[in-house]
Symmetry: C2
Subunit: 386 residues, 2 copies
């Protein structure tokens, strides 16, 4: 048996695993310390009551012979897919069929697995810095990757690739920089893809943090995007479902890929937990909606606090207005891991080193506004003192 | 952008999708009829109370700020992995480390995704008939496949491949034939894999149906198997979790693949639902264990009923003693789909056509003992009359 040798091209460890290992090593030698976690993009606010209740009711149904159910459709229940269209797309003037919406157990899996639909000889364009799974999943598939720098000099807005790109990963609001694209900026990418027969994989996991009017919430707000774009979304960030596990991916039939993705999912996926799908439905009830909006606003308040305090201390900090992330330049010309280690040892604060997101992330770190408010305040106080 | 052209080698539709489409078409033209579903291997008995309660408690924890949790470990919670080892492996004299056990959202996903770890030039050996996802996921990866016939002439026990096989899929208790292997029969495969540097992907999803003493419950009961075998298991069939979604895969370090699978999961998977993992834990409580054992015994009772009645009617029927499936030869030399259509139209009964499981399945159908008891009785009565 021969292994997939592309794996040998990967860095030894996935970024977030690497960070948690360093944190654990620090705690092992400093057992009296508590870490202030501003690193990983994991939510901390409890689920609204309406969502908990929906899950408990769904679990109860599975214990009753009259309401028990087994496998759901591989692509998710029709009621949830229709509800997503009605609430997320129709209000923005976007028309989709329910068979173009696929429920999954999270955006991370779909973003990784979508790569299977394409030949290995495609050239991939990926923003730099970026969520590392796009890069890693394409390295695993043996594809050539072009990185598109997003740096202070271009206001973190990527330029169109100079070399033809077949598959383009875009993420807006951006992880890690927190930057959004305007309608005009996003249209350039859709036009590029239409001219070059490229496919855009649009990661809209942070869509629900957009507050600025006029910023597109979906790539399908751009004319012609249903021909060239797959959009991936998650309830993890919008509704705090990182433990519940539910997301969805839109594969319009006009892309020519809808039947392939359906075939992939029917073969390698047995559908999303019924309990999680009921939880997702409950995010669209009045009570559920109010509860998750309150949580989102709270996180955006934390983001504002982090950014303002960093500015007061003289740091260059970006994002955090339509996104839960603040992208902060390291002081003294330090590299990312030096600043990371400084924050870990001197301030007992965890951030994510920008270099972990790609070469253009070097010299930056990412702070997450999903962190506990009191931890952020304490961390910022310590950063001020060191 | 070029698509993965291997997809063009697939049959247009996944088997079970194909069956449900035929069933829906029949119902559309016979709206007054109700179908007796003995086809898909989906459970019908409600979850034991202890499991429902564990899920409701887990959901409740997510609604409380003091007990809220976000992402779990990509490989699953340590408490569940340890509990699985203590309950499923230690009693059989098998030693595993917790980092060799990976919790996932179902065996179907893991069985499909494991294929990524291997180069595309490996030769794959697959039992025929077989669960179609093994074949389809390897067609998607562009691998050459050798089928190993399991037919009445060899008592449905596969012979070792004549041409060297690099990756071997085994499933025992078998889906669809319901056959089990003895210790000696399984040892021949482990020895073959060790001699040929092959890897065995052992699907043990139906392990909990084994009642005959001396039949191995895990491939790791065979000496040396940890060097050459990955074992995939599911709570779907053992505990009725087809809607809950939880399973696990054992990748021993001695295979040399444990670090690769961890890297794959950390990149393309964000961990299994906390609620589902708590549900899985509850299957090991005294109440949970008693409840799922009662359900398993009930299904095995249905299996015995189906097999006995078919025998009384003069059918050749196999399996159903250590497995929830009965493999039945079609009468009058009919092919599988002819018998399927006869059962659908004349008896309003759904089965799974054997040809859908591979060429050696032609002339057979599979009946599932997961079906409702009263539906089985009615279906068998109608089959007797037609």
């Amino acid at each position: 048996m021969n292994i997939n040798s592309n794996y040998q091209q990967l860095k030894a460890q996935y970024l977030f695993k690497c960070i948690s290992d360093r944190a654990e090593a620090y705690l092992a030698s400093h057992p009296d310390q508590r870490l202030l976690r501003m690193g990983v993009g994991d939510v901390t606010r409890p689920l609204p009551h309406a969502i908990v209740e929906a899950m408990q009711q769904a679990a109860g149904e599975l214990g009753n012979p009259d309401t028990f159910r087994g496998y759901g459709p591989e692509e998710g229940y029709e009621w949830l897919r229709q509800c997503i269209i009605d609430n997320e797309y129709t209000p923005h003037g976007i028309t989709l069929d329910t068979d173009e919406v696929f429920i999954g157990e999270g955006a991370g899996s779909d973003l990784g697995n979508l790569s299977e639909l394409f030949a290995s000889d495609n050239r991939v364009a990926i923003l730099d810095p970026t969520y590392p799974a796009y890069t890693d999943s394409n390295i695993m598939a043996g594809r050539a990757i072009t990185f598109l720098p997003c740096v202070a000099e271009n206001d973190f807005v990527p330029e169109l690739p100079k070399q033809k790109a077949d598959i383009i990963y875009l993420c807006f609001p951006n992880n890690p920089t927190g930057i959004v694209l305007t309608h005009e900026q996003l249209r350039r990418w859709v036009d590029y893809a239409r001219q070059n027969r490229s496919i855009i994989i649009f990661d809209a996991a942070y869509e629900s943090f957009i507050r600025q009017p006029g910023i597109p919430h979906s790539i399908y707000e751009i004319e012609g995007a249903t021909e060239v774009a797959i959009e991936v979304r998650s309830f993890s960030k919008s509704a705090g479902f990182t433990a519940v596990r539910c997301g969805y991916t839109v594969v319009p039939k006009a892309t020519g890929l809808q039947a392939m993705w359906l075939r992939r999912q029917c073969t390698k996926y047995n559908g999303t937990s019924y309990v999680a799908q009921r939880a997702a439905m409950a995010t669209y009830t009045p009570e559920g909606r109010a509860g998750i909006r309150a949580n989102l606003d709270f996180y955006l308040g934390t983001a504002r606090l982090i950014k303002d305090r960093l500015h007061e201390m003289g740091y260059q900090a970006y994002g955090g207005e339509n996104a839960p992330y603040i992208w902060c330049r390291a002081p003294y010309g330090w590299d990312s891991w030096t600043f990371f280690d400084h924050l870990l040892r001197e301030c007992q604060t965890l951030c994510t080193p920008g270099a972990g997101f790609g070469p253009s992330g070097e010299g930056y770190v990412r702070f997450s506004a999903f962190s506990r408010r009191e931890d952020c305040e304490l961390a910022l106080e310590r950063i001020k003192q060191h």
